[in-house]
Symmetry: C2
Subunit: 512 residues, 2 copies
C-alpha cells in the first residue's frame, strides 16, 4: 500500500465509514485510495464548512467520527468555524489535511500556510505525519485521540509524498477505547447537597441521552430535584414519555433568575454555565461558586454517575407522570412561535431536528416536549452557519430517520452550499427557513447595548431585506426543490407535503 | 469618545473610507460608532470570506486598506482563506475583530477561541488591545503596520469593554509612510548580468503597474530583455499600448521550459518563482540558484529600481512597437478559449477584470493583450472562492469602472454570498460563470498524478454535474439578475447586454 491507501485501510479498520471531502491536488492520492481500498463512502461538498458541519452532525448521531478530507491550510481555514462548533459539541472529528510534499514546503509555495497552528486552535490532537512508514500508526493514533476526553477531535496532516510512498502492508490492531468512569466522591457530595436544600440537575452532553434522562427523571421524582438542560444542546433525546428538562434561557437575566432559585446546581455532562456574552455589569458565570457542584464532566461516564446518584438518593425506579400537550396549530401570519408550533406538531416519530432557528426557535424547545420521540440538535459553539451541514451529516448517519433543519435565514445564508450535497446524495432533509429577513438577534443586542435609536448604518448592519433572499431560488439553484409560504396554514401544508416524500426539500417561511 | 468611536475616528484620520462588515454582539459598539462618527461607509456581507475578499480587491484597486469588522474568532476563521489570498497579493487589510469583554473571556464562553493565534497565520502584525485609552494609538499603529513591507496587513483585536469605555478625545497625528527605496547594488548587478547574456525580467507586484511596465518596455526594447509576469497577478495594467509580458505558465514543465531559455532571470517586485505544487521528480524553484538575480523585492520601490536599471542600461525612452490584434469572435459551443475571446473583445476601456477563471481562463491573458486599457486581477494565494468578493471590493474602490468577474464555477460556488452585496450596493459587476460543471483542474491533476483510470469515487470528487448548479437561480436568489447561455454567440450577446446597463448582472456560460 502507499501512504494514502494505508490511511484509508487503517481508518476503515478503526470503524470510520464515511469521508466528507473537498479535495485538491495535494489530496489526489487519497482520492484515488477511496477506490483502491474499498469500503469508505466519499461525499463531496462545495465548501469545507459544509463538510465539517456534516462531520459534526454525523458524529453526534453516529457516536463516532467521520473523516474529513480538506485541501491544505486554506481548506482547513474554510472549515474551521464548524470544527469550532464540533469542539463545543464534543463531537469527535477525524480531520485529514493534505500538505505539500515535504521537500517542497520549504520553498513556501503560494498555498503554503501553517496548518498545524491553525488546527491546534480547534483540535485537542494534531499530528504532522513525517513519512509513509508511519501513516497507519499516525492514523490509528489520531482517531483514538479524536475520541478521547469525551471527543476532542484530531487533525492528521499528511504530506503528498507520504501519501505516494510505500507504507508497507501492516495496519495497527484496533485498540479498545478506555472505558469512561465517574467519581463516587462526586456522587456522594451531590447527594448530600441535594438532601440539604432545593436543587437542580444541570444536564448537558451525555447527560441528555435517553438513559441519562430516564435516570434524571428518577432523581427528579424521587428527590424533588428540578431538571435544567443547557441553552444549546449538542444532542438531546426528547418527546413522548421522556423527562423534559427546562432549557436554561439564552437571556442572561432570565438564566440567572432561574438558577438563583436553587441552593445547589448539580452539573452533569457539561461545565458550569457561562454567559454567552459579557454584558457590562453582568455575570460571567451563571452560578455562584458555592452553588454549583460537579457530578460528572464531559468524558466521564455521565449515565453511570446519574445511576449512582439515583441509588445514593434511593430514588425509586419510576418517574413522575408528565402531563402536557402539543401547542395548538397556529393560523395567520408566521412568527417564531407559529413556526415552532407547526414543526413540533408535524414532526414524525424518530425525527432528527437540527435547530439553528435562533430567535425564531425560542419557543421550540418547550413546544416539542410532547412531540413524538425525536432527537434535538442545536448550534453549540455560536459560530452561525452550521445547520445545513449538520443536518446533512445527521441524514448520512441515520438514513432511516427524517431530518428537519429548522434554520434561521441569516445563519443559513452562510452555508447554502450544503444543500447541494443533500440533493446529490438524495438525503431525507427538510430545511425550513425562518425568513425574518434580518439578523434578528442583533436587533435585541443593539437594544441591549443601550442603543435606543440606532442610526442608518447600524440598522443596515442587521437588515437582510434589501434585497431579500429568495430561498426557493437558492435551494433550486443548488438542486433542492422548494416552496415559499407566508401563513402558518401554508407552512403546515408545505411541511406535511415535504415530510411525505423521501429526499431533500426546502420551505421558506416568510415571517410577518 | 468611547473606544469604538476612537477606532472609527482614528481610522478615518488614517484615510480608511470603507468598512466591510459582518458584525455580531461583541461588535455592537463599533456598529453604533459608524453612525456617531460620520464618514465611514459600512458595507454588510452575508459571509466573512466575501468581506475579506472584498477587502483584498479594494486594496488592490484603491492602493490602501479597507477596514473589516468581523465577529470574534469564528468570524475571523470564516474570513481567513481570503485573508490568505490578500497576504499573497500583498494587499494591506486593516482587520478588526471584536473580542469578548476582557473580564469575561477567562470563563471561556462558547464563542471563545484564540483569535491572536489564528490572526498570526495570515497577518504580519497582530495587536490585542488592552483598554480604551490605547484604542486610538493601537488603531493608528495597526493601520501603519498593515501598509508596511509592501502590504503585510494587520489585525486589531478589540475587547467589548474597551469599545465601551472612555477613550478620551485625542487621536494620533497621521504619520507619513516611510518612502520605499531600492538597492543601487542590485541595479548594477542586474545590468551587468543583462549585458552578459540572454535575460528576462520576471515582473510581479508593483512591477506590473503602468509606470513599471513602461520602464520594463524600455528595458526590453533597449537591451533585448524578455518580459515575463507572474502566473497569478494581484494587479496588472494591461491592453492597448502597454508592454505585454508573457505569463509564466501554470504547468510546471512549461514554466521550466520558458525560464531555462534565459541565462539570467531578473526578479522585480516579487520573489523567485516557485512551483504551485511539488510533483514527484519535479522542481520546487523554477529558476536555478545562479540564474535568478533580484532587482527589487516586494516593499521596495520597484518602479524606481526599473528606472535606474533602464538608465544603467542606457535604454532609450522608447519602446518597441507592439503588433497584435484581438482574437476572432468565436461561434458555436463554449469552451475556455471562446469565453476568453468573448470577454477580451467586449470588455470596455477602463474595465477591471477579476479573473478566477482558472482552467477556463487559460487563454485570457494572451487574448487580452490587445484589449482596451484595463486592470487584470487574479486569485493570488490559490485559496479558491475569491472572485466574487474581490470583484465586489474592486467595484466599491472604483465606482466609475466596469468590473467583470470571470469566474470558474467550482470556485464561485464557495462565495455566492458576495452576489448579495453586489445587489444591495448596486455595484457595477458582471459575473461570467464558466460552467464546465466540474472541478476541471482536478481532472488534470488526477491524470498528472498517474491515475489513468480513476474509479467512481475519484470521478465523483471532481464532478459538479450531479446535480448541476443553476447559476441563474443562485444569482437571482441573492438578488442579481442573470441569464444562461450555451453558445459563444449567446455569450457575446449576453455580455454586451450586461455591459450596457449599470448594476450587477450574472451570466452562466454553460460549457460544452
Amino acid at each position: 500500500m502507499n501512504g494514502a491507501e494505508a490511511l484509508i485501510a487503517t481508518a476503515l479498520n478503526e470503524g470510520i465509514e464515511v469521508c466528507f471531502a473537498n479535495p485538491g491536488t495535494t489530496e489526489m492520492p487519497m482520492v484515488a485510495a477511496l477506490d483502491s481500498v474499498p469500503g469508505m463512502r466519499g461525499v463531496l461538498f462545495l465548501h469545507e464548512n459544509a463538510a465539517t458541519g456534516a462531520a459534526d452532525g454525523y458524529a453526534r448521531m453516529a457516536g463516532k467520527p467521520a473523516m474529513t478530507m480538506l485541501h491544505l491550510g486554506p481548506g482547513m481555514m474554510n472549515g474551521l468555524a464548524n470544527l469550532h462548533n464540533a469542539r463545543r459539541a464534543r463531537s469527535p472529528v477525524f480531520n485529514v489535511i493534505g500538505e505539500h510534499a515535504s521537500w517542497h514546503v520549504r520553498s513556501d509555495p503560494l498555498l503554503n500556510t501553517d496548518i498545524e497552528t491553525v488546527a491546534r486552535t480547534v483540535h485537542g490532537y494534531v499530528k504532522e505525519n513525517l513519512g509513509a512508514s508511519t501513516v497507519a500508526m499516525d492514523t490509528a493514533q489520531t482517531i483514538a485521540e479524536a475520541m478521547a476526553q469525551g471527543g476532542r477531535s484530531g487533525t492528521l496532516i499528511l504530506p503528498h509524498d507520504a501519501q505516494l510512498d510505500d507504507a508497507g502492508d501492516t495496519i495497527p490492531v484496533r485498540r479498545a477505547l478506555e472505558p469512561a468512569s465517574f467519581s463516587s466522591g462526586h456522587v456522594i457530595e451531590a447527594a448530600r447537597r441535594i438532601r440539604a436544600g432545593k436543587s437542580a440537575l444541570f444536564l448537558g452532553g451525555d447527560g441528555l441521552s435517553e438513559d441519562a434522562l430516564m435516570l434524571a427523571g428518577r432523581i427528579a421524582a424521587g428527590a424533588g430535584v428540578a431538571l435544567i438542560c443547557e441553552t444549546f444542546v449538542a444532542r438531546m433525546e426528547k418527546g413522548a414519555d421522556l423527562p423534559a428538562p427546562i432549557k436554561l434561557p439564552y437571556r442572561l437575566e432570565d438564566a440567572v433568575a432561574l438558577l438563583e432559585q436553587f441552593e445547589t446546581v448539580v452539573i452533569a455532562g457539561t461545565s458550569r454555565p457561562v454567559a454567552f456574552f459579557g454584558y457590562p455589569g453582568g455575570a460571567s458565570h451563571l452560578t455562584k461558586e458555592d452553588q454549583a457542584v460537579t457530578l460528572a464532566v464531559p468524558g466521564d461516564d455521565v449515565t453511570g454517575a446519574l445511576a449512582a446518584l439515583a441509588d445514593e438518593l434511593s430514588a425509586p425506579d419510576a418517574r413522575a407522570p408528565r402531563s402536557g400537550s402539543l401547542p395548538d396549530m397556529p393560523a395567520g401570519p408566521i412568527d417564531g412561535a407559529a413556526m415552532s408550533a407547526v414543526i413540533a406538531n408535524l414532526q414524525p416519530e424518530g425525527a432528527i431536528v437540527m435547530d439553528e432557528g435562533l430567535t425564531s426557535a425560542a419557543a421550540y424547545h418547550a413546544f416539542s416536549d410532547n412531540s413524538p420521540r425525536f432527537t434535538h440538535m442545536q448550534l453549540t459553539g455560536g459560530a452561525i452557519g452550521e445547520g445545513p451541514g449538520a443536518a446533512t451529516g445527521a441524514a448520512i448517519a441515520c438514513p432511516d430517520r427524517k431530518v428537519i433543519n429548522f434554520q434561521a435565514d441569516g445563519s443559513g445564508a452562510y452555508s447554502v452550499q450544503a444543500l447541494w450535497t443533500q440533493a446529490r446524495q438524495n438525503l431525507d432533509v427538510v430545511t425550513v427557513v425562518a425568513a425574518n429577513r434580518r439578523y434578528n438577534i442583533l436587533g435585541f443586542e443593539l437594544e441591549r447595548a443601550g442603543i435606543q435609536n440606532p442610526g442608518p448604518t447600524a440598522l443596515s448592519m442587521i437588515d437582510l431585506g434589501s434585497p431579500h433572499l429568495d430561498w426557493v431560488k437558492i435551494g433550486e439553484g443548488f438542486g433542492v426543490q422548494g416552496v415559499s409560504v407566508d401563513t402558518a396554514e401554508g407552512l403546515a401544508q408545505a411541511l406535511a407535503d415535504a415530510l411525505e416524500v423521501k429526499g431533500p426539500r426546502l420551505i421558506e417561511a416568510v415571517m410577518a
